[in-house]
Symmetry: C2
Subunit: 408 residues, 2 copies
């Protein structure tokens, strides 16, 4: 008998028929004597519908009241799943975030979980009930309803698994696991049986949007055994996200190829090549809450240099506005923006003990005539910015070069 936390997203809860399908899956785990806690999202589209309704009444809705509205999405699905389970003879009980209670700070629409009261859930599990908890929501110390931000249901699942010391946290989604890269680009992409938290973080933040990053960090921190798997396939093991590097001798150097089209490059031309210039440029950008990704400072000439960095395309206009204001103060000649780039990364915990990964990556791209515009590296990934038109080609040749299409 194990204690399992299962999380089902909006697509899995998208219709009465799909909710019945989730109920049948949960029932199968109960039939194996497992204790099951289920975390659910709102029906797909419902949260957006509710936000639109709130925006009809207020151009800039009070986050406290917005949370009261959007938290109803999960309040509906918890009860519908409880009804579906009861209908097939499985005892079940629903809990809103406040009823659990999942205590959060008061940062409405992006609250952080502070603690989880597990007494009620434990009692119901011990009484043989399936416990269904609303994802994405909590309650602050004043009794106000809070929400955790987009994808917050994953975080609820992992936090509950940590609080209950669950044997496993299963995240059911519309993909059947984490792949070496996007199968739509590389048909030979393989599903990974395991991946480390660190690799998953790089894969997720680079565009493989399987899991909310915060939930992966949380799972890594609290050593929750996390598994991503398909809610539509009957039998599948999905991908297990592990704390430890695979001890297997055959462990691959590279686990996957990630990519991100959402890159915009900004170049500040002709700034004085002197200490502190990076801070003078990036300080105001950070103050505007804009995340900077890759950064390059060119070699200076005649006491001047060019400074380039990338941001999300959605932040490009705000970034150039910020720089236009500080341009005169830092003595820059001009500001240039470029939206023709994308980012491709090779990710793998094995690379830190295998030199030559970068060389192999650059050589592979060079052989295809793909020019590398920027480079950034970490312990477990190497990212390059290239022209977006080469994205698919680059991902395909790198996937092959690192033997990711080979079964292991």
């Amino acid at each position: 008998m194990a204690l399992i936390v299962q999380k089902y997203g909006g697509t899995s809860m998208g219709s009465p028929e799909r909710i019945r399908s989730v109920a049948r899956r949960v029932a199968k785990f109960r039939a194996q004597e497992h204790q099951v806690v289920v975390v659910v999202s709102a029906m797909s589209g419902e949260t957006n519908r509710l936000i639109a309704l709130a925006r009809e009444l207020s151009s800039n809705p009070d986050p406290r009241e917005l949370d009261v509205v959007i938290s109803t999405g999960e309040q509906v699905t918890i009860a519908l799943l409880a009804l579906a389970l009861q209908e097939i003879g499985v005892a079940a009980k629903s809990y809103t975030g406040a009823q659990v209670k999942i205590l959060t700070d008061s940062a409405h629409t992006k609250a952080r979980i502070l603690s989880i009261d597990q007494a009620g859930i434990r009692a119901d599990l011990d009484a043989g009930k399936v416990v269904i908890v609303a994802g994405f929501q909590g309650v602050d110390e004043h009794g106000a309803i809070t929400t955790l931000g987009r994808g917050g249901s994953d975080t609820t699942g992992v936090a509950l698994a940590a609080a209950l010391s669950a044997d496993e946290c299963q995240i059911y989604t519309d993909v059947d696991g984490v792949y070496t890269t996007d199968p739509r680009i590389v048909p030979e992409a393989r599903k990974l049986d395991t991946i480390t938290f660190e690799e998953m973080l790089e894969m997720a933040s680079l565009g493989s949007k399987v899991l909310q990053i915060r939930s992966v960090e949380f799972a890594g921190k609290y050593k929750v055994k996390l598994r991503v798997l398909s809610s539509f396939e009957e039998e599948n093991e999905g991908t297990l996200i592990t704390v430890e590097e695979n001890k297997n001798m055959e462990h691959p150097v590279i686990s996957g190829i990630a990519f991100n089209r959402d890159e915009a490059k900004i170049t500040v031309l002709g700034v004085p090549d002197q200490p502190g210039i990076a801070y003078q440029i990036l300080g105001p950008v950070a103050e505007a809450n804009i995340d900077v990704d890759m950064i390059i400072q060119n070699v200076g000439r005649d006491g001047l240099t060019d400074f380039s960095f990338t941001v999300s395309r959605g932040d490009l206009d705000r970034t150039t506005n910020v720089l236009d204001r500080v341009k005169a103060g830092i003595g820059a000649a001009a500001i240039e923006a470029d939206q023709s780039l994308c980012k491709v990364s090779v990710v793998g915990v094995g690379m830190h003990s295998h030199p030559g990964v970068a060389a192999k990556m650059f050589k592979t791209l060079s052989a295809e005539g793909i020019n590398i515009r920027m480079i950034s590296t970490s312990e477990i990934k190497i990212s390059v910015a290239i022209e977006e038109k080469y994205l698919e080609l680059a991902v395909r040749v790198l996937h092959k070069a690192f033997d990711l299409d080979q079964a292991r």
Copy 2:
């Protein structure tokens, strides 16, 4: 400065535009320095939509989980109204039933209010905020969400007004007050400026569905000054429902004519004319939770008698089923059902000091050739069952005979 509780129904909250209109009305009261507590229903149609969703997953939904689903309707509207008020510069804060907290028993889908914690509401009112409370819902001692049954938002409004010792409880609806009878039948029907609780109870239970009966009883018991008025007309005084009989010398003997088409008559033929027969017939009916309205036991002949009573038409099949089971035991010859009747009543607290009301009523109907099939009376009303085809005619001639079309 007064403390006013206002309740708005589903039609008043039916769209963003209507919610904005409610916000403007509330703002006007705030501008006059009144403290305002607003109780709202779900958007019209929403509760039915949610019930249908629950029924898709369970033919006989667990009432606990059903309450979790349907209580979301009001949770959405409280926040939307708060946003609409904030948008026009009025400080406002929403409360679910659980947040208030409105403590109820655990009779899900038809819970009764046990107590209301007014501390939080008081503090917000004193801080100048409009407090918006979800109607129709509460929370039981275990923290489970409960609902009060159809029309329960009226009860929430009255209960809050009682708990807060409000100066007035205003029920905004789609009619502008209580009329002497249905204006669709008698165009000369007049709006009443005042009506007593007792009269209102008779008018409401007889089919003038302006207010939920339970809320009127509640208001009478706790002496809450209750006013029914239109949410669509800018300036209107509506109808005040008072505890005391109007002391005005001109007080009318009759306040209104009520009617009810939803009547079915059942006759148990040829039962022994002996003590206890009424209980033997009506006992099993009461046990089946069927409300009996008018009752007649005919004069016996040859030791046998006929026993007739009326029930709602929706209860007719269940009632005949119950009687078929006990028919042999009570020695009845046959059971007859008749759905061709309706009920018409004259209502007025003045009638107990004015004999002759019944005589005038019977004479008026007789003059039109309308046969009276059953009669029942109370201190403040006289009801007759007549053939349904005469309903409009009877209401019109009685309205005129008692001078209800005359301005006072």
